[in-house]
């Protein structure tokens, strides 16, 4: 655990002072992070377009690049060339500053998101806490944007964003605490390290309650990214475009980029907390690639792939579901996610107390009795939900539904 963990340590050696480490981190990380954010933006916008298109029986962009892969670049160029409009009577400073605030609020999250073993900007001891703290910074940019626009619809959007923050933060925090209680640490790499070995060691499979924690976290993360069904602040059919109604050109693009970067951040955090981080879930494979450069690269590939899979699920959800109403959003977070979050925290810690994870599992030792038990519970839940699903399919055939639903 005390080996040089971050890239900066790796470059500077272990003995550097904190000033050197800080400057080193900035020099070493600024360029890759900016590049990575752009890459995330390009890839996820393309993914979003393609996924939405294929879900909707369309082709999506096909002209620029292979299957429209460079369409986003073309759009970026277009947005750069657009006129920079500021509405009359807008708060000009805030109007210009809000996109930067939103973007910065997202990018600071990358500081604790690992890209692979040791590939982490700052492996803070309080990684999760830091995330919970800065995760909502973007909302401040959003609120500022809506306020500065001098537009009633934008104002509605920003007020909705504020409402949303206070509602999703609590369940999200409960999910964090659940994992922190299991892991015994707040450090991101510390958490990932507890999940090495076989797939059963992922926190998702550690006990049945972490499943619930994962779902709670994912729903809250959707709300944090303002993704459907929680896209209330920008609800295009209700509030025109909400907080970014008045934005055009590059400022709009920055909001857009911030949204997609945020999607990546929350997905990567989900991967770190629940899905084994940079471990593949196959113990011999991880052992084979080792911890050298090859190991770092493979780990980076694994964690980025897993994160993008979760990003795809966000898109899949978005293109399936209608938007919920503001009061329903509050209801969901306060009355459903929060009680379940507390239940999860209590249940998970009690489970850990009564069926403690053997130390051997914590360092990736392999299958344990606890894992088997978890598997049994999960299998039961899975079977039950399958039965419920089949029943619902039967119910939804018109003739049977009419019979059962007078």
């Amino acid at each position: 655990m005390m080996t040089p963990y971050t890239l900066v340590d790796w470059v500077l050696g272990d003995g550097a002072g904190w000033i050197a480490r800080f400057i080193g981190a900035v020099l070493v990380w600024a360029v890759p992070i900016t590049g990575f954010v752009s890459f995330v933006g390009l890839l996820s916008i393309w993914l979003e377009r393609k996924i939405s298109a294929h879900i909707q029986c369309r082709l999506g962009p096909m002209e620029v690049g292979y299957h429209g892969a460079l369409q986003t670049v073309a759009d970026g160029v277009k947005l750069l060339a657009k006129e920079d409009l500021v509405p009359a009577d807008a708060d000009r400073f805030l109007f210009a500053f809000a996109p930067i605030l939103a973007f910065a609020g997202t990018v600071v999250g990358f500081a604790v998101v690992p890209f692979g073993p040791g590939l982490i900007v700052a492996d803070l001891d309080i990684g999760i806490f830091y995330l919970a703290a800065v995760g909502s910074l973007e909302a401040i940019g959003v609120i500022a944007a809506g306020w500065a626009s001098n537009n009633k619809w934008s104002l509605f959007g920003s007020v909705r964003a504020a409402t949303q923050v206070v509602s999703y933060e609590i369940p999200m925090g409960l999910a964090f605490v659940t994992i922190a209680a299991l892991a015994g640490t707040l450090s991101m790499s510390g958490i990932v390290d507890q999940q090495q070995g076989w797939i059963a060691n992922w926190f998702l499979f550690r006990n049945p309650f972490t499943w619930i924690a994962f779902i709670i976290y994912y729903i809250a993360a959707l709300a944090e990214c303002k993704r459907a069904p929680f896209d209330l602040p920008e609800a295009e059919s209700e509030l025109v475009s909400g907080f970014h109604t008045e934005y055009s050109g590059m400022r709009f693009a920055i909001f857009f980029l911030a949204e997609y970067a945020q999607m990546y951040v929350v997905s990567a955090v989900a991967v770190v907390l629940f899905l084994g981080g940079w471990y593949s879930g196959i113990a011999p494979l991880d052992a084979a690639v080792g911890t050298g450069v090859a190991g770092k690269l493979v780990g980076a590939g694994i964690i980025v792939t897993k994160s993008f899979l979760l990003v795809c699920v966000q898109m899949w959800l978005r293109w399936t579901l209608p938007r919920i109403r503001l009061d329903q959003m509050l209801y969901l977070c306060m009355k459903i996610l929060m009680p379940f979050g507390m239940l999860t925290l209590v249940g998970s810690t009690m489970w850990e107390y009564y069926f403690p994870t053997p130390e051997i599992a914590k360092v990736g030792g392999g299958w344990t009795g606890n894992t088997v038990m978890t598997g049994v519970v999960v299998a039961i839940i899975g079977t039950l939900s399958l039965i419920v699903y089949v029943r619902s399919v039967i119910r939804s055939t018109p003739s049977l539904r009419a019979a059962s639903n007078p």
């Binding site: 029986c57 369309r58 082709l59 899949w316 399936t320 579901l321 419920v388």
Partner: protein, 270 residues
């Protein structure tokens, strides 16, 4: 709300959301369901493919048949047709009609609502709704079409494109057949695994070509049609100038001199 109802409502939500997601996922992984037609792309098919026979596009005027009776002008509910002409002697720049000379026949596409009411009462059936649907123009003045000279898409074009389509389809079928045969031959050659079968494989595509089939896909360009089909209107061409005034000796019954066809159908891209 009782605990049962509370849990039940959560269950219902989860169930119905999963049902919806299952549906969208089915579509996501089935590219065969995609319904997009890529209009205007590189491998574009003729417009015939997009519109049915009765499509009401920009009008076509068969000038030889027109008797300059103004019925279409009167039938138009939005007054977008204006025409002028004379029954007297030909004059400079006049187009030959059936017993009359037409000096102008304009269609204001800014007004036209493509209702087909001008075509229905025509006694000579000389004005038709064509297949052309690209009516976009940069200015309003560009939207005013002179049907005598600007006809964007004539009956002859239509025949040509129908033939071109047939050729393309035949060529596609031929290419597919050849591919299949080549694959079969390759498979056969592999099965035999002897050099004796080798000459058959490359020869296969060329040998069974029946006579009368169109050229291979590389040469799908339809040949120009030698002469216009009888009854077909004058060939169009936006760039074509009005025909010179007929010689004085030519009587009113003399048809206009046949024009050479443009060598290719217009590419249907915009």
């Amino acid at each position: 709300m009782s605990l049962g109802a509370y849990l039940n409502s959560i269950g219902t939500s989860a169930k119905t959301i999963v049902a919806g997601m299952a549906l969208t996922f089915r579509y996501l992984i089935r590219p065969s369901e995609i319904v997009t037609i890529q209009y205007g792309s590189k491998n574009n098919a003729p417009k015939e493919r997009y519109v049915p026979d009765r499509h009401r596009g920009i009008h076509i005027l068969e000038t030889e048949k027109c008797i300059h009776c103004h019925i279409c002008e009167k039938a138009c509910p939005v007054d977008c047709i204006t025409m002028d002409g004379t029954r007297d002697a030909p004059f400079d720049g006049a187009w030959k009609g059936d017993g009359c000379f037409i000096s102008s026949f304009t269609l204001d596409l800014n007004k036209c609502i493509f209702c087909n009411l001008c075509c229905e009462p025509c006694p000579k059936e000389c004005i038709h709704m064509g297949m052309e649907f690209d009516a976009a123009a940069y200015t309003r003045a560009h939207g005013v079409k002179n049907l005598l000279t600007d006809a964007p898409y004539s009956e002859a074009d239509r025949v040509r494109e129908a033939e071109a389509r047939q050729l393309i389809e035949a060529a596609e079928a031929e290419a597919k057949r050849r591919k299949d045969e080549a694959r079969k031959a390759a498979a056969a050659a592999k099965a035999q695994a002897t050099p004796a079968a080798a000459p058959a494989a490359p020869g296969a595509p060329a040998a069974p070509k029946p006579p009368g089939l169109p050229p291979p896909p590389g040469a799908v360009v339809p040949k120009p049609i030698a002469s216009p089909t009888p009854g077909m209107p004058k060939p169009p061409g936006a760039a074509m100038p009005p025909p010179p005034a007929p010689p004085a000796t030519a009587g009113p019954a003399m048809p206009p001199p046949p024009k050479p066809m443009p060598p290719m159908p217009k590419p249907p891209t915009n």
